[in-house]
């Protein structure tokens, strides 16, 4: 349910991956994505698969959880596969179906692209499954803080994300309440054509926006009263510490790069 959005996808168990510094995990996820794009041939997905299985095991995540992350993607996966299979041309025909020819290159392409997507989605979901949104925000803020030199509002972005996470459940609850109140006044949110339905949303959206603005005003005042004055001079409750294990994690990624890229350099 949306009420639990503060946890997002987060799967709260205690594992070595959960305990990694969020900055390390973000960098790892980023490097992993690049690695997946760089895989030069189909069989080199094997080391990526091995890496993924290892990471999942170390994270103590159930396998079904990983597969579930693919579910919303299934249509896209099928389309990707079919498009690449039928619309690629090559030199080695594999199968003729009337006027359509399936080429061996087409099959390879279809497999590569589909695997690429599968590995991207499952791999990056390890990041969100092992890192709570708050920690993730913390990590992003600190990774981006060098960009403050070029006026990138790293702290403000992070604060906005935190506040959004805090208030989404409250606003969802409020939307439900307003919807009921208007239904009691005879409003109909469910029937009619698209236009009628869009118009029917006005009695819900106007009060919701007004309330959101009121809350924003209240919150700004409360934050000021609690001495908030932006990121300047702020200390943090959770000091992020880059430990040996974070370094080791990054080294495993370098190892993966070597395994994927070395064959290309050698031969």
């Amino acid at each position: 349910m949306l009420r639990d959005i503060t946890l997002g996808q987060y799967y709260p168990v205690d594992s070595v991956v959960h305990r990694l510094d969020p900055r390390a995990k973000i960098v790892l996820a980023f490097m992993y994505i690049i690695a997946v794009f760089m895989v030069p041939s189909l069989w080199l997905y094997l080391p990526v698969l091995a890496y993924l299985v290892l990471a999942t095991w170390l994270s103590k995540l159930p396998a079904r959880m990983m597969l579930r992350s693919l579910r919303p993607m299934r249509i896209i996966l099928i389309i990707t596969f079919i498009l690449n299979l039928f619309f690629a041309s090559g030199t080695t025909p594999l199968l003729r179906l009337g006027r359509v020819t399936i080429w061996q290159e087409g099959l390879m392409n279809a497999l590569v692209f589909t695997f690429r997507l599968v590995f991207l989605v499952t791999g990056s979901s390890i990041l969100t499954l092992t890192t709570s949104p708050v920690t993730l925000t913390d990590g992003l803020e600190r990774l981006a803080s060098p960009l403050k030199v070029i006026k990138f509002p790293a702290h403000e972005m992070a604060m906005m994300m935190t506040i959004a996470l805090r208030f989404i459940p409250t606003l969802v609850e409020e939307a439900d309440k307003i919807m009921k109140a208007q239904t009691a006044r005879g409003a109909d949110f469910e029937s009619g054509n698209l236009m009628a339905r869009a118009r029917a949303m006005i009695p819900l959206l106007v009060p919701l926006f007004i309330s959101a603005f009121r809350r924003a005003g209240d919150l700004a005042m409360a934050m000021e009263a609690r001495c908030y004055r932006g990121g300047e001079g702020r200390t943090r409750l959770n000091k992020l510490q880059f430990r040996t294990r974070d370094l080791l994690a990054l080294l495993t990624m370098l190892a993966l790069y070597l395994v994927i890229l070395l064959p290309g350099w050698l031969w």
Binding site: T6, R166, R226, R234, T235, R236
Partner: protein, 284 residues
């Protein structure tokens, strides 16, 4: 703590915009250290405006506000003032920032630059004082209204304030939540010596204060002990305020020719008065 008055307001006037009428009109007020003051007044009487001037959220149009000797118009002092005089607002949902109780209590400490190592001890202490320690890992939106307000109070306590200003902090709570919050604040006042400005329109809450102020049209209309203030039933009515039920009953008895004291606030007071007036009516 020093001998100087804690909160001092001198000829204070305030308007929201240059052309707007005065929201506060020449208010002077001295609150000594450790006092529990309740502020009453109908909506628009200026009581919330006064609260926001007491910790520098608003700055005086005219006159002066000092907190522990610091002038709120002194730019360099504004953060010290807000740390010293913490504020709790009406809507419990709209003042918590973080997605976890513990992190929210840390928010103020982070803002004033307390070193990370010192935070856990201060947060634990603040949560203990408000009885919220067992909820440290909860998400605020899953707490009751009274619990949310106690988290808000804990967030202030962690900053080691000397005064708490509560701006109708119980208005949106159910009776249980109201009692939770009032009990917590009374205990902090008693045990920690924290000065309290308690803005409310619940007369029964005001009746437990050491001192009651009644605001009207931006001025202080009445100022005294609860008994002194509530005994003036007609005057309170004229200011569009209630009186506690037993005070109301005392007035009705007076109208019926009973020579009852007008400083009756509680059921206990009323029983005592009946006993005094008619010893033979009651058997114990």
């Amino acid at each position: 703590m020093s001998d100087q008055p804690h909160l001092q307001v001198k000829d204070l006037s305030y308007r929201y915009e240059p052309e707007a009428p005065l929201a506060l009109d020449g208010v002077s007020l001295v609150v000594p250290h450790g006092q529990f003051v309740a502020v009453l007044g109908h909506n628009g009487s200026g009581k919330s405006t006064l609260a926001k001037l007491l910790n520098g959220l608003f700055l005086p149009t005219e006159g002066q506000v000092t907190v522990s000797g610091m002038d709120t118009r002194d730019d360099g002092k504004v953060w010290d003032i807000r740390r010293t005089a913490g504020m709790v607002f009406q809507n419990p949902d709209n003042q918590l920032v973080a997605t976890r109780v513990y992190d929210d209590v840390a928010f103020g400490l982070e803002n004033i630059g307390v070193p990370s190592e010192e935070m856990p001890a201060r947060i634990d202490e603040a949560l203990k004082l408000t009885g919220m320690l067992e909820f440290a890992d909860r998400a605020p939106h899953l707490l009751s209204g009274g619990q949310k307000q106690r988290v808000a109070i804990a967030g202030i306590l962690a900053m080691h304030p000397e005064a708490l200003i509560l701006d109708e902090a119980t208005a949106m709570l159910d009776p249980r939540g109201r009692k939770e919050v009032l009990d917590t604040v009374q205990r902090l006042n008693r045990e920690q010596g924290i000065t309290v400005v308690w803005i409310t329109h619940f007369m029964q809450e005001a009746a437990t204060a050491q001192r009651v102020l009644v605001m009207d049209h931006g001025k202080i209309a009445m100022d005294g002990t609860p008994r002194e203030v509530f005994s003036q039933v007609e005057r309170l009515r004229a200011l569009r305020l209630d009186v506690p039920p037993m005070t109301h009953l005392a007035q009705l008895l007076r109208q019926r020719g009973v020579d009852i004291g007008m400083d009756v606030l509680s059921v206990d007071d009323m029983v005592k008065e009946v006993k005094r007036l008619c010893p033979s009516c009651l058997n114990s």
